[in-house]
Symmetry: C2
Subunit: 196 residues, 2 copies
């Protein structure tokens, strides 16, 4: 419709969000305009504030509003441990366990040759410099257990082995609370091999 | 994290979109900040433009940037037919068929007593005035075939019957391209009753 240019533009802009197709974008636009114009304003302001204010931490690459993030600046954390994760979401999942007191390096992606993501795009050079700075003694590879996450962990492991560092990977096994009957066979096989 | 206030605010704002939970909101925020900052800016501008520019058409209640929408102003359309739909999305589905040349009234909702949506919220008074303006001869009730859509059609039908108008409802039946075996029984029963 010629007289709804800004509505059409809004639907197109919403479609750029991951996981949002044209139907969802329409539903979101109609919802915002009909029932939540205040929410639309709030979202616009939040987008602008985040784009203006959020950068990557100089040391660990995670999102922060300062030059170096709070986690990296926290002197109570164990600087001899460096945990490598793919995304800030993975980092915050580890943080929520409360079981890890070391520092992080956030790749902000994973090696994915098919999508054109190479070692430079995920800052591997910077990771290697960091890991070999003399303070770090253990590198924990906590990339995802997907094909690309495994490949990323493998590449990092190959580059860092024989440099006097301890290299570890998160344990694979049966998730807490699960019944063997419903766990996939690959997981059970790993749990068998790594039994303790 | 204390140093990612504007990231957290963005995630909260995205969560207000229909169908978006905390995981999707996180994924959207990370995607925008990591891969599509231009898209985030575009979305912010589109939201502000739509909130500022999009209103309801004075005559049919659909979204428009003018006082009266293009469809209502189109003199080639048949003003004796008035099609009542729930949303602009339903209206555009009907428009895409190319099979309807009359005018519309968009309820921008449906009667839903449990959600506190009454006749006033969907502009029934205005619809009745419009339907009884002397020009309209047929009112086509094209609300959805859900419990609430049917109830809305029933209420409108009751109020307008015996006022000299032709009242029709979209035909119910077996969808084009479908096999009877896989069509639900209620639909087959309707198709049998309305057979032609």
């Amino acid at each position: 419709m010629a007289d709804t240019h800004s509505l059409d533009a809004l639907i197109q802009a919403l479609k750029r969000l991951p996981g949002v197709g044209v139907k969802s974008a329409q539903r979101m636009a109609f919802h915002l305009l009909q029932h939540d114009r205040h929410g639309a304003d709030a979202l616009a302001r939040a987008l602008q504030a985040a784009v203006a204010g959020v950068h990557h931490c100089e040391r660990c690459h995670t999102f922060t509003e300062h030059a170096v993030c709070d986690t990296c600046l926290d002197t109570r954390r164990d600087a001899s441990q460096l945990c490598v994760v793919e995304t800030p979401a993975d980092q915050s999942a580890l943080e929520r366990t409360g079981a890890y007191k070391g520092l992080y390096f956030v790749l902000m992606g994973k090696l994915s040759p098919l999508d054109g993501v190479g070692p430079h795009d995920i800052g591997l050079k910077k990771l290697f410099d960091r890991a070999l700075d003399g303070t770090v003694q253990e590198v924990i590879l906590a990339t995802n257990f997907t094909a690309e996450g495994e490949a990323t962990a493998h590449v990092i492991g190959e580059a860092l082995k024989a440099r006097g560092l301890t290299l570890t990977r998160l344990a694979r096994g049966v998730p807490a609370g699960s019944e063997l009957e419903y766990v996939d066979l690959g997981t059970i096989a790993h749990a068998l091999v790594d039994r303790r």
